[in-house]
Amino acid sequence: MSNNPDVMPKKQFLSLQIDLKKFEKATEEEKTQHETMRESTTFFRDGMRKLRKNPLAMISLVVLFCLVMTIIIVPMFYPYSYEQMITVNGKRDKTAKNLAPFTYSKNELKAIEEGQEIFPHIFGTDELCRDYFIRVLYGARVSLAVGLFASLIVLVIGLLYGSVSGYFGGKVDMVMMRIVDIIYSLPDTLMVILLSVVLTQVLGTSLQGTALAKVGTNMISLFVVFGVLYWVGMARLVRGQILSIKTNEYVLAARAMGAKPGRIIRRHILPNCMSVIFISVALQIPSAIFTESFLSFIGLGVQAPMPSLGSLANAARGGMQSYPYKMVFPALFICLIVLSFNLLGDGLRDAFDPKLRR
């Protein structure tokens, strides 16, 4: 048989073979008519377009990007460290205590007169003669890390729990949701305080010498608390989404073809509720940062000498009247970070939440 497509193979008797002679080839003109007038857009691309049109969300995205870049890059070449006193000519400079921004200590002034170059203290120094700018940067690093990591924990636990509960339904769902109800109605702040006190004490002895000890028991207990208490909101959200999605025909089709529950959840259900979940994660980050700073403020946050924005602000309360800048800088950073995440989260919701899309 010839392979030429234009030539009709010999028709068999009673065959349903199409008779190509009855068809005409499309002209070039007709082909152009079929080209799409407008590029088809995906859900994601459409959302991004909406997000780009939202100035507040874009500004906060830029602010957050700059901030993250700064706290990653600047400490690499910054001449001072966050935990050590300022040194002049290899000696500890005890006169560099509580300097105002952009001022120098006596010893440093002497060194400058001798022709040395000394990097200015952009935010001044603290009561232990440490450069404050680098401390605030590290604080922002710690706070952001806590926020991101805590939200990740919440996401993972909530996603697993919610999808299992929502997909299987029935008695499993009922039992799982009663547990969620109870955890949900626990007063979170009370439990956070209590658990972090207990965990810090209990973990402190058992963690010594392990790699986790470096992170600090307070921080780990903070993560445990988030893992124990805050996932319930996420679990409820995921369950609700799955309940509504699993009634769709394509899920039924997948099930009819014999796909396993795990595969149906992963391939068919979760991708369809991702947008809602990510918005809620974006809004979870500022609340985690809030909780961390609150705990640091009442003395249960990260351990010294590691700073967090909350503990810096707390430490600054003592000399507030004399050195207000020590309060202002960490406060400004917290507000900036939280505000940006809130605005970004709102923007994401406006752009991606299917309920709000028109």
């Binding site: 305080i193 209590l194 004490q201 403020f297 707390n314």
Partner: protein, 303 residues
Amino acid sequence: MLKYTVKRVLLAVVTVFIISAITFFAMNAIPGGPFSKEKAPDPAVQAMLEARFNLDKPVPQQFVIYLGNLLHGDFGISLKTGRDISQIITEKFAVSAKLGGMAAGFAIVLGLILGSVAALCRNRWPDRLIIFLTTLFVSVPSFILATILLLVFALTLKWVGVFSANNPNYVLPVISLMLYPMSYITRLTKSSMLDVLGQDYIRTARAKGVRDSLVIFKHALRNALIPVITYVGPMVAYILTGSMVVETVFTIGGLGTEFVRSINNQDYPMIMATTIFLAVLMVVATLVSDMVYKLVDPKITFD
């Protein structure tokens, strides 16, 4: 209705029980006891003290004893000061309740006004200003707000006096406590008001020639209030915990300060009492606001 109420009340009771169990076993897991920090604890004396407060018994048995006493209304006495705990709580809560009550009141009233104004002036400057400010306020942690207010208005400008026992000036504490819930209520009111204003019955009322003020107050605001009711429960929780921070900043001796102090002191009965008290308060507030919400909203049915 009855079934729903019973279910919710049962859940609330279970919650309170679980909270007290978690608290009891968690605080007993902390190494050391209330008397281990005392100076020169003579073993005999310590053993006697522990026997006096049942601390020598196994923890589960202690829990049962504690719950038994609690059901008789006996919170026990503070291990640090030896005072009757229910007396301490009544005394400290009076201060916290005054602060929290004022903050909650102002937050609701101002939040409703600002939210309605923002909804009525949609996309004009009052709306933008209000939304900008409220977004700003929810991004500032209360302790920073409290400290900055204290620094600016009490210490630098000297407009208001600093809080002290002789001269209790609640202006700054109340402001720093109420801004967050106020902002939240404002946003909530705005969105629900916008929702209501788009309804058909508002158009009907306007078409009948009802005065604007009557449409807003009688038709719109009353319906817009419904979602706000659900926030009252969480708000009470926020104010109670927020008051821990604000009380610390302004050195107001309230229940929040007492809670943090009792944890640091490992004063077991005091930790239990404050936790249970605050937890009951929060659980009841949530319960009541949920019930009222269901009662007020005719669209919700009980099944």
